[in-house]
Symmetry: C2
Subunit: 221 residues, 2 copies
């Protein structure tokens, strides 16, 4: 059974990506990050999803991106609400986040012998983050195959797989439902309200909530 690393945030996209990798027959190693994100609650969702999908292993890497700041997700900057979608990269962009996440996935893959790295990047219903685009992922893959001992010694080659890249949010959701995902167990909101009894209320207004709602609406759900 071929092994794969799956970047798992606990949201719609990464959960669907995990389901796809699983469906393709990979032995899945999930990797999440406790990076100082304001919606750290997503990790609770990621934990349950990892169990539900019976991954071989789930690692949560504790890395502190707050030391740099520069984003509404890691610094004391307000998350924009009901913002119109534009060509601009919003303040929720976290500097070099996917580059950092993929680099950990590369390390993890090298250690366990997993050469397929799955990421839920999407360049259709997304916030224009540069590190979700195809040319970035291709350049990353090229670099990865020069970066590691594994790619040299074992003559294996790393593949960065982004199966959702060209799907709309609605297509992603339909795909996931066909694969048996219960999306009520995923979390998307950047700025959730945590109620004392453990209940979570999504704000419904941040970009991530908006894409999620749009996706379910367009999927007719």
């Amino acid at each position: 059974m071929k092994k794969a690393i799956i970047l798992l945030s606990g949201g719609v996209d990464s959960t669907t990506t995990l389901a796809i990798a699983k469906n393709q027959g990979f032995a899945c190693y999930a990797l999440s990050f406790d990076y100082g994100q304001r919606h750290k609650i997503e990790l609770e969702f990621a934990r349950e999803i990892a169990v539900e999908f019976d991954v071989v292993e789930h690692k949560i890497a504790k890395i502190d991106l707050r030391i740099f700041g520069g984003s509404a997700l890691t610094a004391e900057i307000e998350v924009p609400k009901n913002a119109p979608q534009s060509e601009e990269i919003p303040i929720t962009y976290v500097p070099a986040r996917n580059t950092i996440f993929l680099s950990y996935a590369l390390a993890y893959g090298e250690v366990v012998g997993a050469f397929d790295i799955f990421i839920g990047a999407n360049a259709v219903d997304y916030s224009n983050y540069p590190d979700c685009r195809e040319n970035f992922l291709q350049a990353y893959e090229k670099m990865a195959n020069l970066a590691t001992a594994a790619s040299q010694n074992e003559r294996a080659s790393f593949k960065i797989r982004a199966p959702l890249l060209k799907m709309s949010k609605a297509e992603i959701i339909k795909t996931g439902i066909a694969l048996g995902i219960d999306y009520s167990k995923t979390h998307s909101c950047y700025d959730p309200i945590i109620i004392t009894d453990g209940k979570i209320i999504a704000c419904g207004k941040c970009d991530s909530c908006q894409f999620r709602l749009k996706g379910f609406r367009e999927a007719g759900l």
Copy 2:
């Protein structure tokens, strides 16, 4: 004054790299990592070097590469002593380490507006680590310029600078001495013995010690 990020471990190479960047007129932002390395003591040296070179800021990112293991520097694997140099990549190789370090430098650079990233990579007197070679660094630079918002919005371009890449260890040391470095204040050993009164004894036998000793010998010191 142009800003630069300098990856600073506290060893001969990164200290020399910092001195070179400073000499080239950059405002230097130093970045070190507490990554679970067995020779964590190097961070004490990095701290003092950063002060001595009057950097604008010195950040130590706490990241745990022990969760993956797979290296003599981050797992319970013995550091090889008096090993002959060969074409093989030794067990002190840390999976994807420079990829991870450069990714943090990229995030840091994006936040402070530093587009020059200095790394003390050397491909002459080195342990064959793939992530110290020129083709890796070039591929990294290409990827970096697709990864970030900064490289798009400000039309600036990241440069990965490795001024030591083609120097022998002796040349590096001579360069550093000409720039005023006191190398007794640097640390190279992978497996140091810490004496209770704060004194440190380098093992003298790991690859890193051997390259250091060879360098000083060949520099006639």
